[in-house]
Each structure stands twice: as C-alpha cells, then as structure tokens.
C-alpha cells in the first residue's frame, strides 16, 4: 500500500510540473510583459534594464525553474491590470469563493444523498418520479441560466433577496472575511449557493440513486432479507454503506469542480471571489493572474484526486494490500 501511495504522489507531482510548464509558457509567449509594465514612453535602456531585472534574458529552462521557485513561495508576480502583487489580490478574494463553495457543497451533499436514498428506496412512488423528472431539468439547464431565473424570481419580482454582491462582511483574524455573521451577508449567500449547488446536488442525487439501486439488487441484500433483518438495517446498514464507496470518490472530485464552476456563479451574482477575478483577467489578458489561478486550481484538483484515491483504499477493505489468502 505504501508503494501505491508513493506512486500516486509521484504522478501528481508530474502533473503539477506539466501544468506549471503550461502556465509558464503562457507568460513567456503570450504578449510582452515589458509592454504591459512600461508605458508608451520608454527608452531602449529602460527595456533592457527591465528585461535583465526580470531575468528575461536567461534561457528557457532557467526561467522556468525560477518561475516554479517563485510560485512555490507564493510569488506570482504583479497583475497587469491592477498593478498589485497577484498573491495579495488572491488572498483578498479567496474567502468569498471558499465560503460560497463550502456552503453550496454542504447543501449539495446533504440534499443529494438524502434525495438519492429516498428515490432509490421508494422508487415507484409519485414523489420519487416527480423528483427524478425535475432533476433531469436541473442537469440540462446551464448554471448561469438557473442563476438568472433565481434572480428574476427572488430579486426582481419578489424583492426578497439581493441580486449581487456579498452583503456586509465581518473580518475574522487578519485574513478571513465572512458573510455568515450578518443578516445581509446571509441573504446575499442564499441565491448564489443554490445556483452553484444545484447542479452538483442533482448529479449526486442521481448517482446515489443509481448506485443504490444497483446495490439493492445484489445477492447479499437478498441474503440479508432472507435472514429477517429489518428494512431499516438492510437499507442503511448494508445498502447505503456499500453505495457510499463509489459515491465518495465522485463527491470528492465534485468538490474540485465546484470551485471551478464558481466562476460562472460569481459572474452572475457579481460575487467578489477568485472566479470573477479569473474571468476579468481573461477579458483583460492579465497573464499573471491567469497563470496564478491556473496553478492554484491545479494544486487543488490534483490534491483532491490524490486524497480521494488514497481514501478509497481505506474505505474498501478489499483493496488493502495484506490479503492473507485462503485457508
């Protein structure tokens, strides 16, 4: 098992290096950083000086190495658009995205599993059919459309909830800012959280349902019933436990996707997070921000994939290396 873990970590590092290469190449080949940093009035000497200062006259691999070195320390350069260090901007906006992602993730998982189990156990009922039909719509609709519909309904027509921004935020410590502690903050969180979480919830629900239906068909469930175990024990102790094994993997991977999809939700609601930052960076071709976002996201995705793979080995006893074999 240790060998497996080491191998997976090695693979992850390789992927990160490749992504780093892509990010760095963006820097190197797209646009001219000198152009972006110096104004119109510049002399040849200015350009040469800056070039040497930034180390742009070094060979490619050296620059790549220095880029990685900086990245690992959190130094991503200076934003073309805002003129501030990228790391500072990212740190500032991270809590907004993380809070949104966390809340919608929790909603998606709780409701997704609950509804999935419900529709699997009561698969013939009217409620189950209605839920399944609605879920199909949830999966087909683009996220931004859902967000706009919610805005129209709850902000424009009913006027209950705000349609943009985070409301009032409270600073915790010197870095984190949270909106949960204020009323306006909570209100502002509701629609974006639903928009972001809806797609994930539908996905989880349908997955849990189909996995559970598959599990309920297995022989060991039949045998459990043949031993007279109560329905509750059969459904939850046996079926749900076996369902969760593949579901946990998918949920883990989804958590990464939430942060990426936050880009869309943040744009719809003008939520001041890193997603909106990324979109603005693309529109302005602000390479340092784009590269930094890419690197951070990769670390997150690769990290989550790695953790989920390792977790899988712990959850399913069949995958553990010490098979003592038959006697």
């Amino acid at each position: 098992m240790a060998a497996f873990i080491i191998r997976r970590i090695g693979q992850s590092l390789l992927v990160l290096l490749i992504v780093g290469l892509v990010a760095f190449s963006m820097f190197h080949f797209v646009g001219d950083p000198i152009d972006n940093m110096l104004g119109q009035e510049r002399t040849i000497e200015d350009v040469e000086r800056l070039r040497a200062q930034l180390g742009l006259d070094q060979p490619f691999p050296v620059q790549y190495y220095r880029f990685l070195e900086n990245a690992v320390q959190g130094n991503f350069g200076v934003s073309y658009r805002q003129g501030r260090p990228v790391s500072e901007i990212l740190l500032e906006r991270a809590p907004a995205t993380l809070e949104l992602a966390a809340v919608s993730g929790v909603l998606a998982i709780l409701f997704g599993i609950a509804l999935g189990v419900f529709t699997a156990i009561r698969r013939q009922g009217v409620a189950a059919n209605i839920i399944m039909a609605t879920s199909l719509i949830g999966v087909s609709l683009p996220t931004f459309l859902i967000g706009i519909l919610l805005i129209y309904l709850f902000s424009v027509e009913l006027g209950w909830l705000p349609s943009f921004g985070r409301g009032e935020v409270v600073k915790l410590g010197n870095w984190w800012s949270t909106g949960i502690l204020t009323e306006s903050g909570l209100k502002a969180l509701i629609l974006p959280a639903i928009t972001l979480g809806l797609y994930q919830m539908t996905l989880i629900m349908r997955l849990v349902r189909s996995e559970m239906l598959e599990v309920l068909r297995q022989d060991y469930i039949r045998f459990a019933r043949a031993r007279g175990l109560k329905d509750r024990a059969v459904n939850f102790r046996h079926a749900l436990k076996n369902t969760m094994v593949p579901v946990v993997t998918v949920i883990g991977l989804q958590l990464g996707a939430i942060i990426a999809f936050a880009i869309i939700t943040e744009t719809v609601f003008q939520w001041p997070g890193v997603g909106l930052l990324f979109i603005n960076a693309i529109q302005f071709v602000d390479i340092p921000v784009m590269a930094a976002y890419l690197m951070l996201i990769s670390v997150m995705f690769v990290g989550i994939n790695l953790i989920v793979d390792i977790l899988y080995v712990f959850i399913d006893p069949r995958l553990r290396a010490d098979r003592t074999g038959a006697h």
């Binding site: 019933r225 043949a226 102790r237 006893p317």
Partner: protein
Amino acid sequence: MSEPVLSVRDLSVEIPTRAGIVKPVDGVSYDISKGEILGVVGESGAGKSMAGNAVIGLLSPPAHISGGEIWLNGKRIDHLQGEAMRRLRGKDIGMVFQDPLTSLNPLLTIGDQLSETIQTHLPIGRREAEKRAIAALDEVGIPGAADRIDSYPHEFSGGMRQRVVIALALCAEPSLVIADEPTTALDVSVQAQIIALLRSLCRDRGTAVMLITHDMGVIAEAADRVAVMYAGRLAELDTVRDVLTRPQHPYTDGLMASTPLASQGQTRLHQIPGSMPRLTQMPDGCAFHPRCPYAQDKCRSAPHPTIDGGRAACWYPLLQEAAE
C-alpha cells in the same frame, strides 16, 4: 406421527408477462418433517428455486403466489406480507444461497453480520451475541473462530465462506432451512464437506431441510426423500432409495439412465431427446409427453396428471418389480 414442519399444498406461482401469464410453479405439494432432508431436483427452469422463494416470501414482483397453501409448524404463512413475513425469516425459516462470495456483504466483518442477525431475532445484548457468533462459527467447523470473528468475507476461501453462510442461516435456530444449490459454486472436493456439514447440523438440531439442486449425486448423498420437478410441476415424490433405484415417472427414469454411471458399458451416453418446454409454450396434457417414449393418447389430451396421493404424476407409471 407428529405434524410436518413444512407443508406445501397445491402451491402455484404466476408471473404476468408480455406473452401471457406463465406458471413457473404449478400445483406443487410436499411435506417435510422434523429432522428430514427433502431434496427438490430438476433442470434449470423447472421451478424448484421459485417454489423455495415462495415459501420464504422472497418472490420478486411481479411473480406472486396464485394458489395453494403453505403451512409452517401448523400455521398458514402463504398470505403473510411485510413485517409479519419478515419475522419468520431467519427465525423460523433460514435460507442458504448458491454463491457464498456474493451472499456476504464485503464491507462488514462476519462477526458483525452474525451478531446483527442474532440480535434481530433474540433479545440479547451485544456481548452475548458475539459469544454466540463465535460458537456458531465453531459449530460449522471454522478453525480459530474467536480470531476469525473480525475477518472480512474476502479473507476466506470458498468452502469456508459457505460454512459462514450456513452459520448465518442457522444462527437464529430456524425449524426449516431452504438450501438453494448450496454446493454448485464450490469445488468438488469441498462439496462433500459442506453436504456432510448440513446433514449433521440438521440431524443434531432436528431442522427440516429443503435441499434444492440439479445434481442427482448430491441428492443421493444427502436427502431422505426427493421431489422431482419438471416444467413447474411435480413429477415424482418418494424416498430417495425408491426413486433412484425404481423410478416410476418416465422422466425420472430417463434422468437415472442419463448419469454416466448408468451408461457404463455402453458406447453412448443416454439422453432424453428434446428439451424441457418453455413456460410460454406448454404442451396440452402432460408436460413431458413430447419426449416420453411411452406416451399414449391420454397423455396428450387429458388434463395433466398429478401425484395426488400416489407416487408419480403419470397415467402409466413404470411399475417395476423390486430387484432382489
């Protein structure tokens, strides 16, 4: 004579399909007494498993009991639903399935699976249940039971797993055990052990056993009486010795003649020509007549024969003199 543990009377199971209503079990009747092993034998699709499922109430819809009665220990149980039926399972009727690997939940230790079964049916605490679980494993011949109680199913070999399954089926001390092809998925060398285990356990506790199999050899080894099924109907029902040595139904006769042992000395293996009819295409009259070498007009036209107090469901049973 005391009351039989299980009494199946004229049981029928129907399944509505697109091609019409089919009867995988048609008017089957047999009794099993305390401590007795009844073998139910027949080809795949003959309805033997279906009858077993009907008894324990695990028919998958839309299959349902359409006629007849099932009596367990003097009480009628075929009409029981839901919770009432659940209470019988495990406690009064136990069941063993064919494949021990898929019968056990791979994510729970066998100790857990045993304890939960015991605690579902007996009002005892966890510690006591664990002790009984270890005792149950011991009884089925698992060495070092106290240590293996925390093992997972995949850590056992096939034969050991089936022993665990038997332990699970018997741990709540049912009066009837239905064993549905318990040895089919096992190595030949292990089969005999499992059969011997089943026999001794049931003799010691007086449990009635319905042993469902397609393997005549298993029947010969283990069963006291045997019911031969064909196309959902009972063909013959009597003691193993009588049915095997002097079969009265032409189908049973053909089966006996088809075993490799019986064909010894001949150049070709005997076969019954044709195959068992599909439930959607049942012939009129006796189900076996298209393949029967002794078929007469009555077999084709009259409503199909039943056992009805006799031994074989046949208008012209093969009455042979006892070979002395």
